[in-house]
Structures are given as C-alpha cells and as structure tokens.
Symmetry: C2
Subunit: 215 residues, 2 copies
Amino acid sequence: MKMAELSKRSGFSIATIKYYLREGLLEPGERTSVNQAIYSDSHLDRLRLIRALTKTARLSLKTIQQVLNAIDSEPAIVEAMGAAQDALIGQDETDEGELPPTKEELEARATSRKILHELIESRGWQIHPETPALESTISAITSLRDEDLSTVLDQLDAYAEAADTVARIDVLAVASASSRNEVIRGVVLGTIFRRSLLDSLVLLAQQHHAKDQTS
Amino acid sequence: MKMAELSKRSGFSIATIKYYLREGLLEPGERTSVNQAIYSDSHLDRLRLIRALTKTARLSLKTIQQVLNAIDSEPAIVEAMGAAQDALIGQDETDEGELPPTKEELEARATSRKILHELIESRGWQIHPETPALESTISAITSLRDEDLSTVLDQLDAYAEAADTVARIDVLAVASASSRNEVIRGVVLGTIFRRSLLDSLVLLAQQHHAKDQTS
C-alpha cells in the first residue's frame, strides 16, 4: 500500500508516520521511485503496536524505543514479551517517587522476598531472576504485611493458583496472533485492558459471594 | 484508653482525631470528666479504617464520609461492603474526565452490556443492578472490542471463572475480621493491595507459561 493508505488504515497522520520512519521505529517501505515507497501489512502491524504503546500504555518514546528494539533483536518471542512486560511495570514504578528505603524496610522486603521464593519454588514457576515483576510482587507482599492483612497473605497460594489460570488464558489469547508485532500488541493491550476487566469481574463476583457469606 | 493512647496506637495526631470527632467520622468516647473521655477498641478499629481510606485508597473526605455513613446505617454487611466498593470504583472513574459519549459509543456499550448480562446470567451471579462495577466491566469489554482484542474476549468466561475464584478468596479473607470496621478495612485494603499482588503474580505466571508455549 502507499503512504496515504497506510495513514488511513493505521489512523496516524502522514507527518507522524514520517517521524517514526526517521526515528527508526518503523522500517522503511520498499522504494518504487525517488519519492514513493510501498508498505506492507507488517508496517501496519507495527503502527498498531506503536499506537498501543503510546495511546493506551502511555509509555514514553524512549521506553517504546527500548521495547521495539527488544522485539527486533530478541530471537525468542518470550524474551520480547518479557521486554514489553518490563516496560509496563517500569512505568508503574516511576509514578511513585519513593525515598531510599530504611533498614527496617530492607528487612521487611527480605522477608517478603523469602515468602515469594518459597511460593515460586512450590509452584515450579520458571521465572527470569531479574524481571521487575519479582520486585513488584515483593512490594505487594510487603504492603500486605505492613497493613497487617495476614488473612489475605494466608491465601497467597490460592491467589497464585488464580494468577496461574489468568496467565494461562492470557498466553492462550495471544498465541493465535499473526505476527510478532501483533503478539506484543496483544500482551501490552491485554495486560492493560484485561487487568481492568478482571478487576471489575472480581468486584461483581465479590458481591455474589458476600451474599453467600451473610445468608 | 485515653486520647493520648488512642493517638499513639492509631498513629494519628490528637489534633487529627479531634477533627474526626468534630466531623462525626468518629463517635465520641465515654466521658469520664468535663475534659476527659475514654475510648475503646472500636474507636481504634474505626481510625484504622479511616487510615486505609485516606492514606491508601486516597479517597476524598467527602467520599469517606459517604462510605462511613453507609457502614453505620446499612444493617447488612454486604450493603456496607457494596458502598465501600462503589467508592473505590467512583474514584477510578473521576480520573478519566471523558467527553459525553457519541451515538456509536452508546451502541458499542449496549452490545457490551448484552455480552456482560449473558455472562452474569450463565454464571448465576446475583448482582445489585445499580452497582458501578457493572458500568466499569462494560467499559472494559468495550475497550477490548474497540481494540479488536477478540482473542481476549473469547476467553471472557474463563476470566470470569478466575475472577470468581479470586472473589471467593477475598470474601474468605475478610470473613474472619473482628468488627464491621475491620471487615470494610479488609475490603478496601484487600481490593487495593490484592489487586497489585494479583497483577504481579499474573506477570510471573505469564513468563512461566510463555515458556511452555514456545518450547
């Protein structure tokens, strides 16, 4: 397709597409004359992914560049998925602007880390040891311990079982995607939108089960 | 206990506690002399709940007042839980600042509403027809349809099943709380912290299952 059609189908203006071409986020089209090139469906997929990363995930251009580099350079799709995940978590963390941790906070995190490692081992999960998802899980466990919500922590294994189910469905849901860009787009949008879907469904199911509890 | 001890154990300053007393968020203590009163564990529970609603859920004082009113006036605990839930969802929605919906958007929401009602019916969930959780689920389904993430939507029933499991654990986790204020505190903090716990656990489990998929 020509640039005009790529613009129309992707919903990006020609100026924006030219900017992504200059920045190397989008590969050049196949040149047919001095000032004309044709673009394929893979360009469209890439632009749809960029849209997901900018408009929906609201990642910075720098982070998007890192995610796209990872997609293009990692031979294994699982590594590319990991890079996209890491970018989404990193984004969350920067919102907080925390002070450096105190000695007590470090000790509390060490205990949470131990709890998590036992959980991962008992479930047999194979996890990349440097993924930011580990640190964000440790933060969540530490918050629950800080707030003395031990009743929630007692159910940690049951939550992990539910998380396992959700993840299995997530992976299934993107497995049928037609290209690598589409897989990553599925992971990014899936994570963001499925998150609010699941949150809302849980609230609905809570109402239902709270009734059981009190009747 | 005296005011000084209540302050120490709750972590609120005496000035703040006096403010909550004046605003009616906290019941007066039992007066023992003209300028002294004693406070019970129920005062402490209430202050712990207020802390959860202010510091963690970051609700406005007006919203907190509504939640506390609901807790005090609703005879059924399930209705009080509903009020706390509604406040948490309402908070999310105000962040968006949306324009009024177009005709196409209204039609898209009507389709999502139909999808959700079929789901609720097939699961036999008993849901209050005016809960904001319904609207937020419809929004999530509409976003997934807008983004053409039909592979995620195809798994809607599987996600609902997982949400059902999570909600059952949530309700179980707060059922053992010692007072009504503690139950609501469990719901509020549970919803907020369990949400980030579950999100992170899902990311970890995704890594594990993505490996299965590609090997």
